[in-house]
């Protein structure tokens, strides 16, 4: 078929040849581009079918969701025995927090979303008002969880555990380590020798030591370093260690972002008469943080998962609770179910963080909107 002839300068934009775009084009290009590729596609589909079929069977159709013990479970069906979770879900979520007071944890958890929403979504309506709530939220959360004020009974930290402990440690660590990390990154780039040296020492020390050592220090030694008369609870000490540890990593990630900013940006800011803090606030940090988002979220996810390490100093995080459940003779041997459940919880939280970071990167991309 010959294409029509056009006068020079009047050639129209033609649609692409049939079968190169759209669903059909995609399938043809990606799954059935050659004989061997088509065979592989068909083989994979068959394999996936059998795999998924048996997995779904074990997870759902053959699974037992309520029973008194593992033996009961097995009598009913041969899939997963989720009874170990359903019977102990309270412990998995709240640790040994007294049952009558668990509403306080629920309230803290749900209101957390209102506190974070204005920070995470800059276009939120009424953002200014919600930001006030974000500001007082830490105090609000502390009073609710800890108690001892307004007639709320005080709850001992030793009773904290489960996912609640993970979220408390993870969220506090994340929230505190970002600003400290930013300051350390700026400090490391500072022209002031004292500030720079202190930042470098702190970062290198924290990065150079295994987190687990820091946790042992937190549990045994940290009070020696504190001024006399202060006695932080173990939970606060652990949060401090998590914060410092991930702040050091975040500082390095952000330093990478700062160094990626072209020199011309600072020259333009200087030429316009902006001073150091104005340049930092309006030019350096917005660009550096945007570049660093994947690295920062990476560090956050790492920190969040590292909270499981507190099990070595005797705090009952979800893994600790799981271990306790498995030690129970009724549930002995159900480690697959237990650990899968804990893994699922971590996966959901970390996947949410990862998705948010992609969304934010996309939103902040001003190049080709």
């Amino acid at each position: 078929m010959s294409l029509e002839t056009y006068k020079p300068g009047s050639y129209p934009n033609l649609p692409p040849p049939a079968g190169t775009v759209g669903v059909y084009g995609w399938l043809k290009n990606n799954l059935f581009s050659s004989v061997s590729n088509s065979l592989l596609t068909i083989l994979s589909v068959i394999l996936l079918y059998y795999l998924i079929d048996s997995i779904i069977g074990w997870f759902f159709f053959d699974a037992v969701f309520d029973a008194d013990s593992k033996i009961e479970c097995r009598k009913i069906n041969d899939g997963a025995c989720w009874a170990v979770i359903t019977r102990r879900v309270g412990q998995f979520v709240y640790g040994f927090y007294p049952e009558a007071e668990r509403w306080r944890i629920d309230l803290t958890f749900y209101t957390m979303f209102f506190a974070f929403a204005p920070l995470l979504y800059p276009d939120l309506p009424k953002r200014k008002w919600l930001l006030w709530f974000s500001g007082i939220y830490p105090i609000f959360a502390f009073i609710l969880i800890n108690g001892g004020f307004f007639g709320l009974p005080k709850i001992e930290y030793s009773l904290f555990g489960g996912f609640m402990l993970t979220v408390i440690l993870g969220v506090s660590g994340i929230v505190c380590s970002l600003p400290i990390g930013i300051l350390l990154a700026l400090g490391r780039q500072s022209k002031l020798t004292v500030v720079r040296t202190l930042s470098v020492c702190f970062i290198e020390f924290m990065r150079g030591v295994p987190l687990i050592t820091l946790l042992f220090v937190a549990s045994s030694m940290l009070n020696y370093f504190m001024p006399p008369g202060t006695n932080f609870s173990i939970l606060v000490r652990v949060i401090i260690m998590f914060t410092f540890f991930s702040a050091a990593y975040i500082a390095e990630v952000i330093r990478g972002g700062i160094q990626a900013i072209p020199k011309g940006q600072y020259e333009a800011a200087d030429a316009l008469g902006l001073n150091y803090w104005q340049t930092t606030r309006f030019i350096t940090l917005p660009q550096a943080l945007k570049i660093s988002i994947p690295g920062i979220v990476n560090t956050f996810i790492g920190l969040y998962k590292d909270t499981t390490l507190v099990v070595v100093i005797g705090l009952l995080d979800p893994l600790g609770i799981g271990r306790a459940a498995l030690a129970d003779t009724k549930w002995n041997g159900l480690s697959t179910e237990t650990y899968l459940f804990v893994a699922l919880f971590f996966f959901v939280s970390c996947f949410a963080m990862s998705r948010y970071s992609l969304w934010l990167e996309n939103k902040l991309n001003t190049e080709n909107k």
């Binding site: 030429a271 316009l272 902006l274 309006f282 660009q287 001003t366 190049e367 080709n368």
Partner: protein, 253 residues
Amino acid sequence: MVIKKNTSSKPVIEIKEMHKWFGTFHVLKNISLGVNQGERIVICGPSGSGKSTLIRCINRLEVHQRGDIIVNDVELTGDLKNLEAIRSDVGMVFQSFNLFPHLTVLENCTLAPIWVKGLPKKDANELAMELLTRVKIPEQALKFPGQLSGGQQQRVAIARSLCMQPKIMLFDEPTSALDPEMIKEVLDTMIELAETGMTMLVVTHEMGFAKKVADSVIFMDEGEIIEQNDPKNFFNNPKNDRTKLFLSQILNH
């Protein structure tokens, strides 16, 4: 077209026996230069001759080591107060535009007026729109720099500098990074600016611009001012051999 000269004899920039080194490399040698109010000076010379460094010394993006630079009766020293005063009086346009990519065109223009000069946001927006209109891109105000063409970006950069209402404008090879068809729109903007009586120092190889606009053309080589003359004599009757060679290289192609 010849732009009416409206220079006065009051020097706004005075450079006296100024030297600068990069490490041990002597980039600027014994520079003395006076620029009067409203004067338009074009600086040309081969690459590496120190012409960019010279104008970057005038707003202290580069620090000179010997001699004096006096801008608007303020001497350039390490004193931060002097520096602030000079930088809000001296605007600068860069070869690579250096717009802030995370801010809209309008925000690029209003940032410094709001935070350095303390202008209310509303006034800053009005001023910015007025200047964006002057550089003929008011309709791009809410876009991001990355969405504009090079010529448009450079015009935004000019508007951004003008928003600080400077008394002196420095241009560091403003058209060197542009595609040929965009050079004209930027030069036209600069010619219009010259017509308003702005004091301008322009590092450029656009000799057409120099002939049309400059009151005085400076030729630099190896860190020295080799020759300074009015455009007519500079182009028709260069005195120094190096100037002749340079002119023959850039004009005959």
